[in-house]
Subunit: 146 residues, 2 copies
């Protein structure tokens, strides 16, 4: 069992205030966040909860796919996993994350295109971050070059 | 509607390989990740999907709580939101994230302890990242000094 900690220090109102989010366990960084920047069309150098969700999912998914491909007898040379996370008004009120689009490009030996696609779907179903994110819809576009 | 992107470049097997996770939209950082480090007791300077989930939730929750407190007529001076994210073997197979513990300390004017506690619970239920993380259990410990 492993526990990891992150922390946000926030000052002020949601519209005028801002925060600093810290990767506490690793000490790898502290980043500014604000609501106006979060809902703006461009990030403009500022991270957001959605970008951080994308980082969590893309890194978790990479590990899970690598594990499943290895278990299937394939050899992973390289995987590139991109997560596009959408933030929008929620028809039920407030805001929500309606969808996360995963795009996976693999350079893998010992598996064909159909086997890769099936394994990529299985990784989406079984990666620990996917299993936690059941309140949003994750889509997958997976291709391999052997 | 806002879309934010993160990307992981992974090389090799799950046990021997490693990846780099990039906060692509903001350009605020690229971080090493590995599975052995992820499941180790200490982070030892390396981030993980769980730490990134904690960063996403603590920053989202801070904004939501600030918004709800403002809507209730209170004035937020400062909030400190800590997220402890647990990674463990899943009884159903593989690994999972069984729980996330949120600890909230507020310095807020114009609300009493019970009003703060209720608002903190409402923020947990309505924050967009909470609403996406329905596959794990989020607990809350919230206290205020007025």
């Amino acid at each position: 069992m492993a526990v990891r900690t992150a922390r946000t220090a926030w000052n002020g109102s949601v519209s005028e205030g801002s925060g600093q989010v810290e990767l506490t366990s690793s000490g790898t960084g502290t980043f500014d966040v604000s609501f106006p920047r979060r809902e703006a069309e461009t990030a403009d150098g500022v991270t957001s909860p959605e970008e951080l969700i994308g980082a969590a999912l893309s890194s978790c998914y990479s590990m899970q796919l690598s594990a499943l491909l290895g278990g299937a007898g394939a050899t992973v040379v390289a995987l590139e996993v991109t997560a596009d996370v959408t933030f929008a008004a929620d028809p039920a009120g407030g805001f929500h994350i309606p969808s996360v689009a995963l795009t996976v490009r693999g350079e893998v030996e010992g598996i064909d295109a159909e086997g890769f696609r099936k394994t990529a779907e299985e990784a989406k179903a079984t990666c620990p971050v996917s299993k936690a994110l059941t309140g949003t819809t994750i889509t997958l576009d997976a291709t391999v070059e052997s």
